[in-house]
């Protein structure tokens, strides 16, 4: 009961006029930060930190929650309208969001994303309120072998993602994984794959560098070439009536994905090492698996937008759980938040949840309110985003290039990365021409640096014995399921290919 009272206090605090204004400003700012390729909630929260000294801590927390939610909603906007995932959590949103936008149904995609995000966030908040301490102990039981098993499971969903050309899909996955290994070997601490012995590669190749190169430059060049620079895509229309019917359609065709994403995303997000990216990817895969028309996925299915969007919002809220209950950051954003707590004079750690209830529940209360505010503001801005799409392509295209370059620089503040973006972009253009799917590479560069160290940490733990992945009570079942999922479609495909080969022969 106490908890509900404290939660209620937190919500009431958020509804005071000054704080409500903070929420509106925060959500709007967050929405635009999230919509910029390259910028995300990390940047929003980082700029806020020094300000926390200037306002009362209560308002600071609320402002922070607002920026956080705004940025999470915004991530979908650039995935759908520009086709550039602004963060690794939004890659899966492009799979179906982009095709919908190209069909002139951007508003349907945006409305679906907003509603799914709202439900994902709300489900996560409720689960958080009810089960926080219990889930914290689950999170702790995940050591390196369990995390690796989970990564295997995420890879299993890859298999269904690629194009029809299997060697090219596998090439793309491996390419992403190898790029993720550039920089330093975490286990031995030695420099690794410093290509051409150029020092710039010591810092590794970030996800954003590859994603912005592939989507912001490569995909754009491909579109320009394909359409002869004259894109006369169906002009998206925007009316109040249209939006109402979009809402209906989104609810009808996206509820399944939303439900899957909300729950699956939360549980994956709670695990400190994993985070929102595998959560959104796995939700997409599961939504496709259980869908009645899986062929629609990748061609503009509202379920395909709803699942990853619900999952990444839900997972981002989930990643707050290890931070608040254990003092362990689950993502870079929560890491900066932890720093903020130290500045406010709080001690992050397991005692926080017990000793600073007012702070914890105030924060969670403001999550509920910010989530509602983010939904309303996002819906209000959809016409603006649609209007952007109506710009002539010869103005929109250079704008996208400019946003890609500036966003890429803002993310790492290194000119070398900008050159890499351009290089990847031109390379991606040619690979795209020859039907190499690139989404697997972009996702692999995120998952590889989690998978490889956990694999090797596990083997160090077991003195080189790989059975550790099968004998541990949590890791074992996950590994087995993952392996089945990986090999099932492969067997199916090989059979089909064999069948194909036989036919022309006979």
């Amino acid at each position: 009961m106490d908890v509900l009272l404290l939660l209620g206090d937190g919500m009431l605090l958020s509804l005071q006029p000054l704080n409500l204004m903070m929420i509106l400003i925060g959500v709007t700012l967050g929405l635009f930060i999230g919509a910029m390729p390259g910028l995300g909630s990390v940047n929003g929260v980082a700029i806020l930190l020094p300000v926390t000294f200037l306002v009362p801590p209560g308002s600071a927390i609320i402002f922070l929650a607002a920026i956080y939610y705004g940025a999470m909603y915004g991530g979908a906007v650039s995935s759908i309208t520009l086709g550039i995932p602004g963060a690794s959590t939004a890659v899966a949103t492009t799979f179906d969001g982009r095709p919908l936008a190209k069909q002139g149904r951007a508003s349907l995609a945006l409305v679906t994303a907003a509603l799914a995000s709202f439900i994902g966030g709300t489900v996560a908040n409720v689960l958080f309120t009810l089960f926080a301490p219990l889930l914290a102990s689950v999170a702790l039981s995940f050591g390196p072998p369990e995390v690796f098993a989970l990564m295997l499971l995420a890879f299993a969903t890859f298999v269904g993602l690629g194009g029809d050309d299997i060697p090219k899909t596998i090439f793309s996955i491996c390419f992403g994984l190898v790029l993720g290994a550039v920089g330093f070997d975490q286990i031995s601490g030695a420099p690794r794959l410093v290509l051409f012995d150029y020092n710039g590669f010591l810092q590794g190749i970030g996800f954003l560098v590859l994603a912005i190169g592939v989507y912001g430059i490569g995909e754009m060049l491909w579109t320009i070439d394909q359409t002869r620079g004259d894109v006369t895509a169906t002009t998206p229309k925007m009316t109040v009536k249209g939006m109402a019917s979009d809402t209906k359609e989104a609810a009808k065709r996206g509820w399944k994905g939303t439900m899957i994403g909300s729950f699956l995303g939360f549980f994956v997000g709670v695990l400190p090492a994993a985070g929102a990216t595998p959560g959104s990817l796995m939700s997409y895969g599961v939504a496709k698996m259980v869908s009645r028309n899986p062929d629609e996925f990748g061609k503009g299915s509202p379920d395909g937008v709803a699942a990853p969007e619900a999952a990444n919002n839900s997972a981002s809220t989930g990643s707050m759980l290890p931070m608040l209950t254990l003092g362990i950051p689950g993502s870079p954003t929560t890491a900066i938040l932890l720093g903020g707590m130290v500045i406010w004079g709080l001690v992050p750690g397991p005692r926080l949840f017990v000793d600073e209830q007012e702070f914890v529940w105030g924060l969670i209360g403001s999550f509920y309110i910010s989530n509602v505010a983010a939904l309303l503001i996002n819906l209000a801005f959809i016409p603006v985003f649609i209007w952007m799409l109506r710009m002539p392509f010869t103005i929109l295209a250079p704008m996208i290039f400019v946003l890609s370059i500036t966003g890429g620089y803002a993310a790492t503040r290194d000119m070398f990365d900008i050159w890499l973006i351009v290089g990847f972009g031109i390379g991606a253009f040619f690979m795209r021409k020859f039907d190499y799917p690139l989404a697997p590479a972009v996702l692999a560069i995120v998952l590889g640096p989690i998978a490889e160290p956990t694999l090797r940490q596990s083997l160090l733990l077991s003195s080189g014995d790989p059975s550790i992945f099968f004998t541990r009570p949590v890791a074992g079942p996950i590994t087995v399921i993952a392996l089945i999922l990986i090999f099932m479609p492969l067997v199916k495909v090989i059979r089909r290919q064999m069948g194909k080969r036989k036919k022309p022969a006979s």
Partner: protein, 167 residues
């Protein structure tokens, strides 16, 4: 397309070989008691990449993949032109960043694209290429506190003046 498919596969195979060779700087085998060495992960993955390239070449020979059946050129004259003008424009844009600052380069690039490639009116082109960098300046430097490259020292007076406004 047919030739291009094989050339691409060949190029990617060379890349895989280079990555394999580079990975051997660290141990690539299975070290008893500790698991795979530091180079094993990238080495064996690059090896799979190489195998994939061989498969692509095999499919090319059998003519089963769409690009290996297509007789269309990879890029026709229009394609080449747009790639050189747009791709070259982006490269020039990035090269200009270290000379006339990020914002200066944005202005030049936008003007080039909108006016020269897009054939829009002079007034429209100029206003887009001037308003965008100014808006981005206030967004990045003012709101986000992210400093963009300011180019060679001769741009300093302009930036000092602008910083005076926002701080």
């Amino acid at each position: 397309m047919r030739v291009g498919e094989l050339l691409t596969a060949g190029f990617l195979a060379l890349l895989s070989l280079y990555l394999m060779w580079k990975s051997t700087e660290l141990p690539i085998g299975y070290i008893a008691g500790t698991g795979p060495g530091g180079g094993a992960w990238p080495f064996w993955l690059s090896a799979i990449m190489l195998v994939c390239c061989v498969c692509v070449a095999f499919n090319w020979w059998r003519g089963t993949s769409p690009p290996s059946q297509s007789e269309e050129p990879v890029l026709d004259s229009h394609g080449w032109r747009s790639l050189i003008f747009v791709g070259g424009g982006i490269i020039a844009f990035v090269a200009l960043v270290s000379i006339i600052s990020m914002y200066g380069a944005i202005a030049v690039f936008l003007f080039y694209y909108v006016w020269f490639l897009g054939r829009h009116g002079l007034i429209l082109s100029l206003s887009i290429s001037l308003i965008t960098p100014v808006a981005l300046f206030f967004f990045f430097e003012g709101a986000m506190q992210i400093t963009m490259p300011s180019g060679l020292p001769f741009t300093d007076p302009v930036f000092n003046f602008l910083y005076e406004i926002i701080y």
